[in-house]
C-alpha cells in the first residue's frame, strides 16, 4: 500500500488536504482512541489493513478496506474512496488542497539540537534485487538521533593514525538493517549480537575539512550464542563511510556512507535478501 496508492501521484494529489497518520499493532493492544474509530467503522475483518477519514474534530466520516485493488470485499479503489470522503467532508469550503509539487518531501528527518554536532543519522534501506523491483524501488527511511557522546565514538584527532571501532558501538544504526515486509515474528526479534571491527583511518583533506574513512565487515545476529543462533535471521555485510572533521578538531562534522549486505531471512529455510543502505548525518 505504501508503495502502491500512497505513492501514486494521482492519489497523492487527492490526499494533499489531509494530515496523514498510521497505527500498527495487535488489535488487542489498540488504544481507546483508535479502538473507538475501528469499532465504529465496523469494517469486515477480511484483511488486516483499513483506512479511515476523520474530520478536523476527529469524527469518523468515511472508512474502507485498506488493501488496494478492484473487485471483492477485501479491496478498495483508493481514488473512488478518497473522492467520496472529500465530498462528505465538503472540503473545498474548508480548505483549498495544496498541490503535491508545492509541498516539499516530508522525509523523516532530524533537527539540529546541539551546536557543533549533527543531530543524528538518516538511513535509506532497500532491497537490492532486480527480481523484486517493487520492494527494491521503495526505500525504508529511519532516523537515529545521536548525542554528542555517541558522535565522540567516531572522533579522529588530527595526526592520529586511526583506530578500531567495534560494530557494537554503532548498534543504534545497525538495529535497522532488515528489509520491509518480513513476518512480524521475525521483525519483533532485535539483533542481539553485533560483531565486527571497523577501521577508522585518516583519508586526506580538502580545504578546511579532513576526511576519515570508516570501513569494515559487520555481522548481526538475532540468535544467541551457539548453534541455535544459526536458526535465526542475521545480517552480514560491509560498511564504508566518509566522515568529515574540521582542521584542528576531532569531532565529526558530517557522515556519508553505504552498507551493502544480505539479510539472511530464516523463517522457513534460509532466504538471502540483498540489502543496500545509505547513511547520512542530519541535518546537512
Amino acid at each position: 500500500m505504501r508503495g502502491g496508492p500512497l505513492s501514486n501521484p494521482e492519489i497523492v494529489q487527492l490526499l494533499q488536504p489531509f494530515i496523514m497518520t498510521s497505527w500498527n499493532g495487535a488489535a488487542s493492544v489498540m488504544g481507546p482512541d483508535i479502538k473507538g474509530i475501528y469499532t465504529q467503522a465496523n469494517l469486515p475483518k477480511d484483511t488486516n489493513v483499513s483506512a479511515y477519514v476523520l474530520d478536523q474534530w476527529g469524527r469518523l466520516i468515511h472508512a474502507f478496506q485498506g488493501l488496494p485493488g478492484r473487485g471483492g470485499n477485501d479491496r478498495s479503489d483508493y481514488k473512488i474512496e478518497i473522492t467520496r470522503a472529500i465530498k462528505k467532508l465538503n472540503l473545498p469550503s474548508t480548505r483549498t488542497p495544496q498541490t503535491a509539487s508545492a509541498r516539499p518531501n516530508a522525509i523523516p528527518d532530524l533537527k539540529a539540537s546541539v551546536p557543533g554536532f549533527p543531530a543524528g543519522v538518516r538511513l535509506f534501506l532497500r532491497l537490492n534485487n532486480d527480481r523484486d523491483p517493487f520492494r527494491s524501488g521503495l526505500p525504508v527511511v529511519e532516523v537515529v538521533p545521536m548525542t554528542p557522546d555517541e558522535w565522540r565514538n567516531l572522533f579522529l584527532p588530527e595526526g592520529s593514525a586511526g583506530r578500531r571501532i567495534e560494530a557494537e558501538a554503532l548498534r543504534k544504526w545497525l538495529v535497522h538493517l532488515y528489509p520491509a515486509g518480513i513476518r512480524t515474528a521475525d521483525q519483533q526479534i532485535p539483533f542481539r549480537k553485533m560483531t565486527g571491527e571497523l577501521k577508522l583511518e585518516p583519508a586526506g583533506s580538502s580545504g578546511e575539512s579532513r576526511y576519515g574513512l570508516l570501513q569494515g565487515a559487520i555481522l548481526l545476529s538475532k540468535g544467541e550464542e551457539g548453534p541455535a543462533a544459526d536458526a535465526k535471521s542475521s545480517f552480514q555485510g560491509t560498511l564504508r563511510a566518509v566522515l568529515t572533521y574540521p582542521r584542528g578538531g576531532a569531532d565529526v562534522q558530517s557522515l556519508r556512507g553505504v552498507i551493502d549486505g544480505f539479510y539472511n531471512y530464516r523463517i522457513r529455510g534460509d532466504i538471502p535478501m540483498p540489502l543496500r543502505v545509505t547513511i547520512e548525518s542530519r541535518p546537512e
Binding site: W23, I34, L54
Partner: protein, 125 residues
Amino acid sequence: MVANQYFRPKSLLRRADSATTAEITHGEFRVGCQGGRSILVIGTLLAGMLVGACTAAAHAAELRDVQEVLEEYHSARPQVHELTVYQLDWTPTFQEAKERAAQEQRPIFLVVVTNSYGNIYTGHC
C-alpha cells in the same frame, strides 16, 4: 645549498651524474665528487623525495577512496520520485495528528494495520 638542492631534484641529479665515486652505505647514497672536495649526502634527500612522493601518492589514493565512497553513496541514495509517499503530510502519531487537525482545521487520513509490528511512515512495516 643542500636545502636548495632538496627542492631542485634535477640539479641534484646533475651533481650525481658528475660524481666519480658512488656507494650505498647504511641506506645512504654517498657520492664522492671530483677532486674529493666534498661528499654530498643525497641519499637522505632522495629518500625524503621518495617519502614525499609516496605520501602524495597515498594522499591521492585516500582521496580516491573518499571519492569512491561518496559516489557509491550518491548512486545508492533514493531519488525524489522514489520518495513520493513523503509528499504526503505525515504525522508520526494519531494524537499529534488530532492536535494538528484541530489547530489547522484539516481532515485526517488514518491507516490502521492490525497484527503487524511496524510503521507505514518509515516503511518498516
